[in-house]
Structure formats: C-alpha cells, structure tokens
Symmetry: C2
Subunit: 359 residues, 2 copies
Amino acid sequence: MLQYSLLPDDLSRPAAGEKPVILTGDRPTGPLHLGHWIGSLRNRVALQHTHRQFVLIADTQALTDNGDDPGKISRNVLEITIDQLAAGLDPTLTTFCLQSALPALAELTLLYMNLVTVARLERNPTIKDEIQARGFGRDIPAGFLCYPVAQAADITGFRATVVPVGEDQIPMIEQTVEVVRRINRLAGAIVLPEPKALVPTVGRLPGLDGRAKMSKSQGNALALGASPDEIRAAVRRMYTDPDHLRVEDPGKIEGNVVFAWLAAFDEDRDGLRELEARYRHGGLGDATVKRRLEDILQAVLAPIRERRARFAADPGEVAAILARVSETAREITQATLDDVRAAFGLYRLPTVARTIGRP
Amino acid sequence: MLQYSLLPDDLSRPAAGEKPVILTGDRPTGPLHLGHWIGSLRNRVALQHTHRQFVLIADTQALTDNGDDPGKISRNVLEITIDQLAAGLDPTLTTFCLQSALPALAELTLLYMNLVTVARLERNPTIKDEIQARGFGRDIPAGFLCYPVAQAADITGFRATVVPVGEDQIPMIEQTVEVVRRINRLAGAIVLPEPKALVPTVGRLPGLDGRAKMSKSQGNALALGASPDEIRAAVRRMYTDPDHLRVEDPGKIEGNVVFAWLAAFDEDRDGLRELEARYRHGGLGDATVKRRLEDILQAVLAPIRERRARFAADPGEVAAILARVSETAREITQATLDDVRAAFGLYRLPTVARTIGRP
C-alpha cells in the first residue's frame, strides 16, 4: 500500500535485476510518532522489498539549526534507530546509517560548494522560507545556507534516483539535479544519476487536538511505542465534531480527527465509506467510531511496540547494528566520492605502507 | 636566519620538550620560483628544526577559484612536492600533506560552518578584497565564501599555534580564533589552541623586470630548478637603474632589482652596504654587481637544482613519500576531529566487526 504519486520512470521500470535506489532520512531531534508512521515509516517498510533503500539519520544536518543544543541530537540517535527497527525496517534490506559517520558526504559537500553560487542558494525557495520560519534574518549560519548542497551530497552519495520529499522540498531536488549535471559535464560521462522527487499523496496526519501538525512538544502526538492504555486514552480525548452532541444528530467528517485517522489507517475502504455516510446522516455515536479506530491502532501498534521494547532493552546491540550498517554506507559513499574526485581531476595518492615515522 | 617579526609567545617560549606547531601551505597551481624561496621555503627549512611543521598542499582550496581548470591543480601536486623536497624540507621533520587526502578537514569545515554566519563571512576583508580582485561579483561560489572556514579547519586540524601569513591574511587568523573560542566554549575545555599570525619582515622579491610580483606567467620569474645558464641569463637581463649609463655615473639602489635581490640573498651584510655606497657614489658598473649576485644565486640554487633533478627523475617515489607523510597528517587531523565532534556532542558509533552483508 504505497502512498506516493508522481512515480518516476526509474521507480516504475527498474532495469532488469537492478533495484532503484531510494534515499530518505530523519533528523534525530526527537522520538518518532504515528505521524511519521503514516508519512514515511509505513512506506519504508514496503519500499525495502522493491528498492535498495537507504535511511540517513541526519545528525550533522540537524546541527545546522540546533547548534545551541547539540546534545539533543546525540541523545536521539539511538532512539530514532530503535524507531526504525520497531517499525519493521530490516537492516539486511534497509541501510540506515549515521550521517556523521560518513566522511565522504562532507567531502562531496565541499566539492559541490565550488559549483553552486551564493546567489543561487539565496534564491532557493525552501531556504528562503526556512530562514523566515526560523527567524534567522541576515545572521544565518553558513552551514544553513549551504544545506541544499549538503543534501545534494547525501542524495548523490548513495546515487539515489528516488527521493521521497514533501512538496515544499522539491527545490532541493532541483538543486541536486543541477549539481549532478555539472559533475557529469565535468567528467564527460554519466558519473551520477539524476534523482527524482517522490511526493506522497496522503496528507499529514493531524494531531489529537485537531491541529495540523502532530508533535511531541505540543502534547498532541501518539508515540510509536505507546502502550495499550495510552492508545485508548489518546483516542478517547481525540477531537471530533464539537456540534455532534447526541448520537442521533448529523456529524461532520471534515476536521474530525477520528475520521482523518481512520482515512489513514483503515484498510476496509468500503466499510469506512459506509461509516462516514452513517455519521453524516446521524445515528452513529463518537464512541462507536472511536472504538473502531482504537481497535485498528491497537492492532497496528502492538507488533511495533513489542519490537520497540525488545530493541530498547539492548541499546548496545542497536548501536552495533547501526555501526555495522553504517559501514556498508561508508563504502558506498566512498566509492561515489572517488568518482566525483576523478571528475574534478583531483590527484590520487598511491596506496603505500607507512615506513616513515612521525616527525 | 628567520625572516619573521611579531614572534608570538608560543614561538619564543615553547613548553619544555614540546615544539610549537606551525602550519603553512601552497596552492598547487604552478611550479615554485625564487620568490617562494625567499618568501617561505627558506624559512621552512629553518623552522623544521625548531617546530613541528606541517605544509599543506592545498588542492581542494585551489579548486574554490580554479573550478574551471581543475586539471591544472592535479598536474602541479607532484611538482610542488618536488619543490619542497628540493628546497631541503625533510619528510621526517616536515609533514607535507595533500589537503584532499585529509577527510577530517572537510568534516571540520562543515561543523564550523554551523558557528559562522554568512554576514560574518561577507564582512571578512580578505574575502571582500579577493571577491573584487577575481571579479566574482554576486556570483561567488559558496566554497569561496566559506574559504575562511575551511582555513580555520586546516589550522585547527593540526592544532597549529603559529601560522605564517601575509599582512592581508590576518583576518583569516582572526576568523580562526573566533571558531576556536566557540569550540572551546562548547566543550567547556581547551580543545583547540588559539593560533597566532607570523608576518614575514622581508618584502616580496621583485620580478626580473622590476615589477612587484614575480610569476611564471609574466615571464619575470626564476624557477627553483633553473640551470646555471638560465641563472646567468636571468641576472644579465635584470632591470637595474636605467640612468646609470657609464660606470663612473652615480647609480640608484631604489627600484634596482639587482640590489633588491642582493638584499634578500647576500649574507655578507657589511660587504653589501659597502657595495651599495660605491654604487650610489659612482664608479661601480652593473656588470660587477651582477657578477656578485650571480655567484650567490649559483651557490644557493646548485644544491636545490641537484635535489630537484634527483626527485624529478623518480615521480613514483615522490608520490609514495607524499602518501606516507599524508597518512601521518591524516591520523593527526582525525584525532582533532574526534575532539571537535565530542565538543559538539555528536554520537560516537561503537567499533564493530562487519557481520551483516550488504543489502
């Protein structure tokens, strides 16, 4: 049940025997919740069977606007890894890796920075919007201005052809395509593939209180590892239709969080359409609808919670998994770097045994 | 015979048993000539005995304004290394290393970019001047704007406390000091030392034609590996005093290239002062003065030329030396990166054996 539109050619028609390469990522700034499950994790679990999938835990990117509280990022690296494993990502199918453990990405970023002008970065709509949203004004960190270049390094480092992004992030992919074309022109050959954006069709899952954005800090999120009681309590306090006072009254679906969540989770689409009709007509109580949602959420979250508990009990093993898989990612990104360095014509030192002592 | 002033405390009073760390470097954009010998190489040969000296062959930095002709950089890496060896730098005393072979420098640059604002970089006088000199206008590459940050990474990567620079490069050292203070504040400890600029007292060696700047492209330079005949021919065509037509006429020292070169090369200072007086007074011909300069240059350049020929005959060995010494530099810069990453609180992956196959 992929929830994406704009399927690029690469995705629909992979070369015989070759899986298309997909790159996604998370900034480790807090635990993942059900909004992430609907927005990305659920798709990742499906995509790992049809794609060569990389999931970047973007700790150095998170530094670009969390320089004042770097400890937050470090604390969440293992949490996010546990969330990925709990969601059902299999480290033998999905290469999830720590950005700061991949020096080739930093080197690619610096090389690409020679190909992108400051004026071009300032014109990037995503950067413009985010500068405004974060109140950075003129005093943006250089790392933040250059973050589209770093993202181009991430995408090309894995030679990704498919990048799931929100509509607002499409300019980032366009910037990457520009870099790819410059490198291929420099090399006189196709060194890097051009990536395509994969924009999800499902909307964002609203918060429990009806606000558009679900976030832990706003207290309107349901955590991925929520207990049965937490799930029950969350559904109970979920915002519905404030004018739907008696069972026999007609109810509104629009802006009703319970129905928004059912639309995201309920796989019985016919049953759901019937339920919606009955609710609009009148004669269906919130309690009944909520019970249906709760049953579905309990079923979805039970295996996730179980896996989460198992991995959370052994953080050393989680760290070891992340380290091992990151090592695979390190080799892959290093190979890309070698090709890009060759495109730039950089001198390649011979491999030698060290025989001269340290001065 | 050090030719530097503004000796910082670190240089004059190194801690007992510890040599102060000095970092210099060259952009590999062309072969070195006698101007480089006077401006830096000669000092490096002396400094390698009193300092722990690093010489960076700055190929990635050279890319920031040679993106259109990267091959030029690659071709000159070994040439510059041969020049260093010919000048008398000893790889067991001086760690000369290839910038692009040190991934830690790229990683440090990206980390520091979170601490330096775009506005701060635009205010940097060196950047301002160079943007103008290179005619970059608004379309400067991002890599060029961020080059003071990359330089801070170079300096701190080696924990250098002494950096020989021209007067115009002092703002670069100031930028580095700002970064060092931010890192030390983040870490709550002295992780990095503050570097000091070491500004040479000797002026620039003028070109053979009397122009202030000596450069191969202007045809007014004398190469480090010049043959005895080339040295003789160069001195012969050297610009003197155009009004000094007969031996008995008084001559001018100011703007007279032969005397400018003697001031730089002649170690018999009393003899030189006497010569200058006789030239001013009249009765001393250009031929006599030129013969004195030629004798000195032949003596200075003979051992350099000899070493140069020996190394140039074995480029494979030169590449191997550069690779070996770069490996030492790689370890040192990696250790610094580890400390800076810890200051940022970045998550550190455990060391594990790879047991999971590639997905």
